[in-house]
Structure formats: C-alpha cells, structure tokens
C-alpha cells in the first residue's frame, strides 16, 4: 500500500512537472488564462484562502435538460445501470412545483459542500472530510461503508456503491460512499482551477445557469453575482453555510 502511495506520488509529481513545462512552453505569457493566477502547485496544500462554490440560477435552468448530469457522470466515470434507487447519483435534476401557485422550477442538486458538514461530523473514521478550501470529499480507503453520513446528509446527496464498479476514471469502490467532488481534479489542475464539468455543460447548452468559482475572491463572477443578487441556501435553517447557492428559488 505504501509503495503504491509512493508510486502515485512520483507519478503525480512527474505529471505535474511535465504539464507545467508543457504549459509554460505552449501558452504565451500574454494569453495566460485568468485562472492560472490562482494556480497551486501539486505539492502545495489546499488553502482556506479559497472557498470553492457553485451558484445556480433556477430561472435559467431548463426543465427537461439533463446536460449537467450527463457531463458530471461522464467526467467522473459514474455509470448508470438503470436502477436509480441504487445507482450512484452525484448530481440530479429536481423539479419543483409550488403547491399553491403551480409554478414549476427546475434545478440541479448535488452535495452542497457545507462549511459545517453533518456527514463529516458523524463519520467514525474521518473518511468524510472537508478540505480547507471547502470541498467535501470521501476518502475511499478509510470509508468503512457504514452509511451514517448518508443518514446525516440533509440533501440525499450521497450514494453508496451497491455494485462492483468498472471503467473507473477516478478511484471508486464498491461498498463505499461517494458524492459530488466539485470536480476536485479540475480544482487541483496544475494549470489552475477549471470550471466543473456540470458548469461547462450548462454553458455549452447555452443555458448559462451555473457558475463555479472562489467565493472568497471578490473579483470572481460568482462572488459578484452573489453580492449583487444574493443567493439562497437549501435548508438554511440548519446553519450549514453551504458552498452551493441558488438564485430565484422562492
């Protein structure tokens, strides 16, 4: 196990140096992406100076569109067996109908990346964890599959891997719990944080209902939109201070 970890570490270091050199050689200084300014070297720890988050404008989210879901599951190698009750569902579309007015809304729903995540509090092995930059993750090697986090999550955001998994892109494991990682591999991209797969897909569809970015950086579009228009948390009464916010929800 230790050897594997070392190999992984060398591989990561090698890959990051190769990509770093490649990026430096191919991208001219004048056209550096804005995000590279936030780039973090692979060997640097994540920092609480960042708080990664998502913003969703429900008024722009199209009923019936599933692009974010498809993109997320493709990106993360989460395949469906056609049994949604037991399939891993990292992100889902939720249709809301107001019981009084009949007003219909649609929104993508996933791990809300709470600042005070109940899943982390209840985990007996600290497999459920929150990074300093606000991303809530599960360490598959430490998860014993007790599902207490799923009992504690107020959002049904977590899935238990009920069946053997094949075609993994990122590590997954039968008998462990998983959920949206906010595309943490993109956040940790040596070239700088990139949009999550769901946000890219929403933009590609032309709906532009989702934003990803650093909530602590006032210059990001997500921060500016939140400052200008505000944003709601789902189950704000629980005081979890979620990293995922919604606009035009009520």
């Amino acid at each position: 196990m230790k050897n594997d970890n070392n190999i992984n570490q060398y591989r990561r270091q090698f890959l990051s140096s190769v990509t770093g050199v490649a990026a430096g050689l191919t991208i001219a200084p004048g056209v550096l992406l804005n995000t590279v300014a936030h780039a973090k070297q692979a060997d640097q720890p994540v920092s609480s100076k960042n708080r990664w988050g998502l913003l969703i404008d429900t008024s722009k989210c199209a009923t019936g569109c599933n692009a974010c879901v498809t993109a997320c599951h493709k990106e993360n190698g989460v395949s469906s067996t056609g049994r949604p009750a037991t399939d891993a569902v990292w992100i889902r579309k939720v249709k809301l109908t107001d019981k009084v007015t009949g007003h219909v809304q649609s929104l993508p729903f996933m791990c809300q990346h709470c600042e005070k995540p109940p899943c982390v509090d209840v985990c007996p092995t600290n497999a459920s964890m929150k990074r300093d930059d606000g991303v809530v993750l599960v360490d598959k090697h430490a998860c014993i599959g007790c599902r207490y986090c799923m009992m504690a999550c107020p959002y049904n955001a977590r899935s238990f891997v009920h069946e053997p998994v094949t075609d993994q892109i990122y590590p997954r494991g039968q008998g462990t719990v998983e959920s949206c990682t906010m595309c943490v591999h993109r956040i940790d991209d040596p070239e700088g944080p990139r949009n999550t797969a769901c946000v890219d897909a929403c933009n590609a569809e032309g709906h532009k209902a989702m934003w990803f970015g650093d909530l602590k950086d006032p210059s990001t579009e997500i921060s500016q939109r939140l400052k200008q228009y505000g944003g709601e948390q789902i189950r704000a009464d629980l005081g979890l201070n979620t990293g995922v916010r919604y606009q035009n929800l009520s």
Binding site: A85, V94, K95, L96, I144, A152, Y155, H162, T176
Partner: protein, 418 residues
C-alpha cells in the same frame, strides 16, 4: 437465605447438541449472506440510497439495546442491593456480553468495507495526539462504549465469580451500570443527533432507548432463563418468576410512557410540519400497521396484560409476554429506523419535489432474504455464545426454588395480594 451454588450446565443430551447445531447452521447462513453481500454488493439487499440502513440494522440496534438491558438483573442486585437477584447476576452479565457480540457482528458484517475497520478507528482514538482531530461521530464514541462495555462486564463477571475478588464486584458493578447508561444513550443519539430527519431529531430518543433496553434485555433474559432451567430439570420457583414478571410489566409500562410522550411531542410541535407523525401513526403504509399491531398491540398491550393482570399466573404467560416484547421491539426498531428514512426530508417546503431518486416521495423498501438471514444469524450468535458460556462457566444457580430464593415467599399471600 443461603447462597445457591453456581454450576455449569451439563449439555450432553441429544437435544442440547441439536439446539447448538441449529444455532451453528443459522450463524453459518448469516455469515454466508454477509459474504454474498460483500461479493455481489448491497444490490442483493433491499437497501437503496434512500433506505441506507435496512433490516440488519433493525436486528443490530435491537440487540445492542437489549444487551445493556440484559445487565439489569446484575445491576439490580449489586447497585440497588436487591439480594434476591444476586444468584442470577453472572448469567445477566454473560448475556449482556453475548447479545452485544451478536448485535455488533451484524453491524460489522453489514458494513460496505468492514476490512477498513481494522486500521482506521484505532488510529483515530488511540494514536492521535491532536484532540481537534478526534472523531465527532456518535458512531465513533459508540465503538469505544461497546468495546469498553464488554471489557468492563467481563471484569465484573470475574470479580463476581472469584470469591477472593468479591469485594470489588460492587464498585465495578456501579461502574458497569453507569457505562451501560452511556452506551444506550449513545445508541439513542445515533438517531437523536440526526437533525435533518424529522423522525429522529429528538433528545427524548436517548432516555427512551434506556427504558427500551430494560424491556428488551429483561425479555431476552427471561427467554434464556426459563428454558435453561426447565430443559435441564433445575428448579425455578414462582417467587423468582413472579418478580421477573412484575419487573417486565413495569418496564413495558415505562416504555409505553416514553413512546406516548415522543409521539405527542412530535405531533404537537412544529416538528410535525413535515407530516411525519401522520405518516408513522396513521399512514397507509407498513410502518403504521407495524406500529399499531407490532409495537403497540403485540409488543406493549398484550405483554402489559400478561404481566400485570392478576388472571395470568402461569409461566407460559411470562414466556408469551417475553416473546411478544421481542416481536414488539423488532417492530419498534423497524418503524423507527426504516420508517424514519422512508419519509422524505423537508428540503423544499411548500413544493412538490420530483427527481430520479424520488426526493419528494416515500422511499420503497422490502427486506431481502439475505438481510433477514444476517439479522437472525446475529441473534443465533448471541444465543450460541450464551449457551456455550453456561456450559463452561459456573454461572447458573443449581436451584432457584422458592425456598432457596426467598424463604419468606408465601404463594397464598401473593394470590391474596393479587
């Protein structure tokens, strides 16, 4: 009152080997079911991403609660000084350990990755010098409470059985009593701290679980004690039977009080804005019928009548009452654990919610045979170990005849009082 001699059971009859054989088969089938669950995945169970704790948890939580309750007889003897129960204290201790082992076995075998358990929590609690990194998990605390309970009770048993250590039995008995209160509180808080789910978020669950433990543990104790005596030809007099019967009745009545307060509070308060009480109590679903028929009628009202009404004098009535209490206990765990998960969480008040995982609807669940076999296997582990212990340890009084238990016991007076 003379102190009855404690001896081991003989356990050489064909019936004994048959019983142990049946229990071993049930254990093997339970373990095989768990192995299948780990090979094929939990897909072969009825559990889903909405009902994440299924029938194994119903059995496991029931047994864990019952385990601490099985220690009652020992606690009453040593902590509260009722010497009549003293001869039965060792059996009570042994049962509390074996029932806990059975419950924990289910819990561990139902984990998705039990092998990860070997290296993770130990490091969290024993080799971590940073208090801020200690687990906040009630589950984590319970791992300490459960293993600690077993260790303390085993020492308690040792102090009780070895004459020269008897003087330590009382203090460690008090310690075990306090520890078991913490253990059941911890088990109740596994649910009580789940703020997101309207069925659980209630501090009363912790004291309620303590009272439930008295009920389940005593019923289990009675169902082991009576056959152990009648099948081996040892005498078990009415003095003991009547006391146990009354005790069971009082415990069932106390549990009923807590159940009423829990549901009244939930019905009356804002917590019921989600409609959880209507769902559990008056819904057109298996949980409501299990509540009224399993938990209330079979598990509470009939045992209350059988134990407290004067008309039921036979020990058959006590056996039926104890079996019904156990059926009621499993029903109560089913309603609490599975019913509580089946009801949707209030994420979007005032809206109808539709999604691929049925966020807004009642989550369906039906137990698979593997779950039931794993649960039954856990019960079999508890019984097998208890019977084995009774055969190798001198823990059973040779006689619990009236003259040995209570020389002043007068059946006529008992009848008149009734």
């Amino acid at each position: 009152m003379k102190t009855p001699r404690l001896t081991e059971l003989e356990g050489r009859s064909p019936q004994f080997f048959l019983l142990m054989g049946v229990l071993l088969v049930l254990i093997a089938v339970g373990i095989y079911s768990a192995l299948l669950m780990h090979g094929e995945g939990h897909i072969i169970t009825g559990m889903t991403n909405r009902i994440v704790w299924g029938t194994p948890h119903v059995f496991a939580v029931f047994l864990i609660i019952a385990a601490s309750g099985a220690l009652n007889v020992a606690s009453i003897a040593s902590v509260f000084g009722r010497s009549i129960y003293k001869p039965l204290a060792p059996l009570s201790m042994v049962l509390s350990v074996t029932i806990l082992v059975g419950g924990l076995a289910i819990l561990i075998l139902d984990l998705g990755r039990p092998e990860h358990l070997l290296d993770v929590p130990v490091t969290q609690f024993f080799f971590n010098t940073k208090p801020e990194q200690w687990s906040h998990s009630v589950f984590g605390w319970n791992m300490i409470l459960y293993t600690g309970f077993m260790a303390i009770v085993i020492v308690y048993l040792w102090m009780t059985l070895v004459k020269r250590h008897n003087k330590y039995a009382k203090p460690i008995g008090v310690f075990a009593f306090v520890w078991r209160l913490a253990l059941t509180t911890g088990t109740g808080l596994i649910f009580g701290f789940l703020v997101a789910r309207p069925a659980y978020d209630a501090a009363i669950l912790a004291p309620m679980f303590i009272v439930l433990s008295f009920v389940y543990g005593l019923a289990f104790f009675i169902l082991v004690l009576i056959p152990a005596y009648s099948w081996t030809g040892r005498e078990l007099g009415d003095a003991m039977i009547n006391r146990l019967k009354k005790l069971l009745g009082i415990f069932v009545a106390s549990a009923l009080y807590f159940v009423i307060v829990l549901h009244l509070t939930s019905s009356y308060s804002a917590a019921n804005a989600s409609g959880i009480e209507q769902f559990i109590l008056f819904g057109d679903n298996p949980y409501s019928s299990t509540f009224w028929i399993g938990q209330m009628l079979i598990g509470t009202l009939i045992p209350l009548g059988l134990t407290l009404l004067p008309g039921f004098k036979s020990r058959g009535a006590l056996i039926v009452a104890s079996i019904f209490v156990i059926i009621g206990g499993l029903s109560q765990m089913y309603v609490t654990i599975i019913g509580g998960q089946a009801y949707p969480m209030p994420m979007f008040p005032g809206k109808e919610v539709e999604s691929i995982i049925n966020d807004g609807g009642i989550a369906p669940y039906s137990a698979s045979i593997y779950e039931i076999l794993l649960g039954v296997g856990g019960v079999a582990i508890a019984l097998f170990l208890a019977i084995f212990a009774m055969n190798v340890l001198r823990i059973l009084p040779e006689s619990l005849a009236d003259k040995d238990v209570d020389p002043h016991y007068d059946p006529a007076k008992e009848t008149a009082a009734a």
